[in-house]
């Protein structure tokens, strides 16, 4: 109980999102936040939970991007914080989930 009270505060969700924005999908040349691949970020006393997806289940870089996302979160979380980055397929990603920045990048009009 004392240990929990003394535990460092979990990172802000916006800080976690900023960290995830450093993870770049190499094919798209765009980060996973702007691509709309991150569905959920929760940060609390129990740790950080991230739900993310890929543009397709046929994407072989999935495990690598999940690893990179986990490392990016670990950079901003106090040491020992439980970090759970989950690969989810519901809902299936679609292009409308991209941010305005990404849509501009790819030439949407």
């Amino acid at each position: 109980m004392m240990r929990a009270m003394n535990a460092p505060a979990p990172p802000d969700e916006s800080v976690v999102r900023d960290a995830l924005a450093t993870v770049v999908d190499p094919e798209a040349g765009m980060n996973i936040i702007d691509l709309g691949l991150v569905y959920r970020v929760e940060s609390g006393p129990a740790g950080v939970v991230v739900d993310m997806t890929m543009t397709t289940p046929a994407c072989p870089v999935a495990d690598m991007l999940v690893d990179e996302a986990r490392s990016a979160v670990a950079q901003v979380a106090p040491p020992g914080t439980p970090i759970d980055v989950r690969l989810v397929w519901d809902p299936i990603w679609n292009p409308s989930m991209m941010s305005g920045v990404a849509k501009d990048h790819f030439g949407w009009v």
């Binding site: 190499p26 040349g29 289940p57 046929a58 870089v61 999935a62 690598m64 439980p82 030439g107």
Partner: protein, 361 residues
Amino acid sequence: MSGAPAPVVAVRWRVALLALGALALVTGVLAGLARLGVGVPDAAAGKAALHGPLMIGGFFGVVISLERAVALGRRWAYAAPLLAGLSTLATFVGSAHGPWLLVAASAVLFAATADVVRRQPALFTFTLLCGVACWLAGNLAWALGGVPHASTWWWLAFLVLTITGERLELSRFLPPSPAARRAFAAILAAFAVALALEANGTEAGVRVLGASLVALATWLGRQDVARRTVRGEGLTRYVAACLLSGYAWLGFAGAMLALGETAPGGAQRDAALHALALGFVFAMVFGHAPIIVPAVLRSPVPYRPLFYVPLALLHASLAVRVTADLAGAVPLARAGGLANALVLALFVVTMATSVLRARRG
């Protein structure tokens, strides 16, 4: 809890599967050189007739099905690269079961790709499935007929449709218009008709195939997100350069098939096939490797501007070979073919040294 979960098949087994693919690549390239009249070791010279199956089944079959197994994360899907790799070993022990092992490999990859379609029914996943169906058809034709050259177009269709499906997937970053999607479906249909005509022995089949490849190159050149990403920097720009330069060879190969004299054994056929297989397919490999190698082997391949050197030499050496083929200059075509092989070796060395540099930190 913050550690990464273990992959369903350990990286060392993936390396072993890739080693089988590499064996097929080396043997297949040497077998191809033997066909051009270059002196190569007997073990490879004796496989001159197997250049196509070694390159497409033994190498690309392993690489593509391994990539899909990693994506799916299902252990059974790894049977596809294993069976394709065993087909290469079968040729070394003089077994006649090589073609049937490829049939089995392609059947497993078909099931794995059908699982992808089930998870995400879409035009691009369907295109991937069509590609695998072509591989399966070509392997069956070889196993039943006994001669590999009858399967050439089916096998190349496997590569073309696999690459196209993956590019179509990425084109969703800038979604094609309904008209562009209809155009793509029409090209796919023309491609299927061409393959059916060719399999039926109709001479027009190869010409229709060529025309559909020209249309496909045009479509990809207009729709591919590489047109945007080529304005980026680093790895993203390099990948786009590989893709766009590959589309030029795809269009050239298509035009040659549509208009040229492409009877088996002819120099024009050699030019068209290798414009497609080296200029288009291997340019994609050059671009894709720095992305896929880290995903499959969990070893980073940091981008270096040096990556452009093998790419430029690939196109230059292919231009020499194709020009020599068309001019009937046999010694120069042989030198071009040898240069093609050396460029592939240079590419492998470039990737390997990049991996080692990254590991040393």
